[in-house]
Subunit: 336 residues, 3 copies
């Protein structure tokens, strides 16, 4: 991608610690299925492109006029609308289903995800997929004629959200290198798994988890942190993160419903204990400068009293998301 | 707005009776939440713009390329599709959800309307909102970064429908001034409340209500009529309106479901007593020249036998709606 | 239509047998409601236009900028997304509802199909309708101000699918004339009824049905075949079709749910007996060269083991569908 050269405010030096594994970049990165397949050059390139779009400095997209299929088998507001907004901003067209569970590509007529991919990929230039099953995007990619973007698959991954999070953290912190990054709420979510993969390259000082007592941090998440020699701590009260950390990525306290089909009716518990809630009172009392991020939607883990504080970055994170999604779509479409 | 100058057929003189309250127009009318915030100059301006769009005489819209988010938390056909058609005709792009109750911005994950507005307003240029709760659009406007259009909130208001109604009545009657305007059906609906606000400026001779016996005309609707010294009558049989009135704005006989969530399953009674039904037979027998309007959908209160009579204005009203919605969107987008 | 002249690979000579009824072509073919209203010249013209779109040789569409309303009262993936993709490719805009059962044009508020057509046709340039009731598209056409395309009505017809099928069969077989064409699966479906109408003009050697034992081929389908003196056979095992036929149009084994409202919850049986299933093993064992078509979605009647065989035409059929839908939309919009 030949984007206009820009000094990215939050861009870290590309000289990463020698123990970071540098993957050989495939000639045509067609799909974006997992944050594991993204390396530091990718992240830098995506962030530079996103910033160019934000500033209106990006060249005319090669993607203009292409067709983006949005296939959401699981409800979504911001991811779906964010991809739609990015599609429009690139001069592309979105087609698809906002609720694929109402289409014939579901259990009722038993069409497989593979057939759905084979079919729809013959009618568009890219597939953006959200599904409640782990590995759904991989299964569709195996049969798709066009690139597939994983917009969240069950408990597994949400790589575009992770790119957005990195972009927004670099913006807020200047650099993530040497900083202490906390995760509040359910550590089992797909956004945590994807973000930790990308944080490996950012050389943070430490990663701190503040999980609910009944949900352990998944072993693969802990090992991703450990294998990159990033310090890792578990804390029991989010107030410790407010005192000690530079940024806190919050999530709902219990996301047990994330792997449920839309029609299951299962609703996760919705009351977060005070030890895992951030309020303006706690921020003011502790004098915390920690920046607050959240993939949203929130439940009660960040009190609305925080919204007007300078700590609150979660709505700015949404604004930035459009530019990152433009970068993701444009690169995948250009690869076609 | 510098629209091409046009003689609007149904336009009333701007010299309104001195007892009409003339509000100071805000510098930037960002939101369109209530018909109460619209004055006679607004109405004239909207009608002129709508007519310019109808005639193809409007200048290239300043809105072209902007993004309109359609957020429908309550089912809709014509309002939703009408706004989509207007969006397309302005060269804008629509994004959003046709059924927001299926998105994550709902009770299932407990995202507030405020957060929904904060989020989506960072991804688009305007929000168009329908919701089953009174005041939903106001709540979203409080947190939105962009203008909010109320496309119907519970029992409260539906201001764009009222502008459409005025545009269509001026077109059909030449002028509303001095005319007798009747309301048939449930007088508690949001379209009645909004339209009565705008009728204040049009100087009708009288406003006649023909409500079901069990549903009173709301006090605030009656007082809006009264404070502008418009004569008001209640009648018990719609046939009296056919005989006496120049235009009849019909509505379903019982709209008790309008304040219900989409999933409630509540269905209003659907059989209208003969005293509140308009048929071709009644029109022919009475020789009525009354023009028939309806925000639609109708149930059985206007019999399809009326559809081909010259009295029937309700489908023409739909055709005109597109141009008024273009005017509303364009003005709100220009204000941004 | 003045399309670029092209040699259509699968085009049959226009000199059809003298016993084929040639209908006088209406000056303005506004609606596309039934394959019965399409004659051989129409089919040729549609196929030539579709091929011109495929090759990028079609002139700039007269339809660009027009608005296509997609009204799907019954769930759909490929038809809905196919029409969206075709709309975008023509430079048109799609509006509408992916699930009209969630709109107010449904039983809940009792709006008739006629009113829905009267309303929405005043806001767009063409209606594309799918519905679970036979005759729904005809009812809407009676009140529409713009052309109506039947995208599947209950058990009745699906004429655009039939055009796609002919286009794909001509492509695969070179010509349908003199070939043996089989139908596997439920013979009561709307795609069968529509396709048999169009096959009348193609002069196949014979039409072979392999229906489930409990569902007869509908009498009107058999008589359409018979009145054109096409040989007709019924077989009990799809393996006979693999041995004897040039092309097999498969369908699910039991489509009893096709006439059900979306909310009915009725699910057809989903296990197909081995006598009605095509597998790679059967193809290899019989050495069959029969080309496999399917309107999709499939259930288990074509095993995925067939997908990579040269016999499999069903995904290519999807790719071709976009160009045929462009041809259908463009002709209907040009007729307006």
């Amino acid at each position: 991608m030949a984007y206009v050269s820009l000094e990215t405010p939050g861009k870290v030096a590309r000289t990463t610690p020698p123990n970071f594994i540098r993957k050989v970049r495939p000639a045509h990165l067609r799909h974006l299925l997992s944050a594991r397949a993204i390396d530091i050059d990718d992240v830098d390139e995506f962030c530079e492109a996103a910033q160019a779009y934000e500033c209106g400095l990006a060249p005319a997209s090669v993607s203009a006029g292409k067709t983006v299929a949005l296939l959401f088998f699981q409800p979504s507001t911001r991811t779906r609308i964010g991809f739609e907004a990015a599609t429009v901003a690139l001069g592309c067209h979105s087609i698809g289903m906002e609720d694929m569970t109402a289409s014939r590509s579901n259990a009722r007529t038993a069409e497989s995800l593979e057939d759905c991919a084979a079919v729809i990929s013959r009618l568009c230039d890219i597939l953006v997929v959200r599904h409640h099953e782990n590995g759904a995007a991989d299964r569709m990619a195996a049969k798709s004629q066009v690139p597939v973007i994983n917009a969240g698959d069950g408990w597994n991954e949400h790589p575009t959200q992770a790119l957005i999070d990195i972009f927004a953290m670099r913006r807020g912190l200047g650099t993530i290198a040497g900083r202490s990054i906390a995760f509040g709420g359910d550590p089992r979510g797909r956004t945590v798994r994807s973000l930790v993969q990308l944080l490996r390259f950012e050389a943070p000082k430490e990663i701190v988890f503040c999980p609910p007592p009944h949900h352990d941090v998944p072993a693969d998440v802990l090992s991703a942190v450990g294998e990159n020699q990033i310090r890792c701590r578990i804390i029991a009260d989010i107030e410790h993160a407010l005192c000690d950390c530079d940024a806190i990525m919050m999530a709902p306290y219990d996301m047990s419903d994330i792997g449920e089909p839309a029609a299951s009716g299962y609703v996760s518990p919705q009351t977060t204990p005070d030890t895992h809630v951030i309020t303006a009172e706690k921020i003011e009392r502790t004098g915390s400068k920690a920046l607050l991020y959240h993939p949203l939607p929130r439940q009660d883990e960040i009190d609305p009293s925080c919204d007007d504080l300078p700590n609150a970055m979660y709505f700015e994170q949404v604004r930035l998301s459009k530019f990152m999604r433009m970068a993701v779509l444009d690169r995948a479409l250009a690869a076609k």
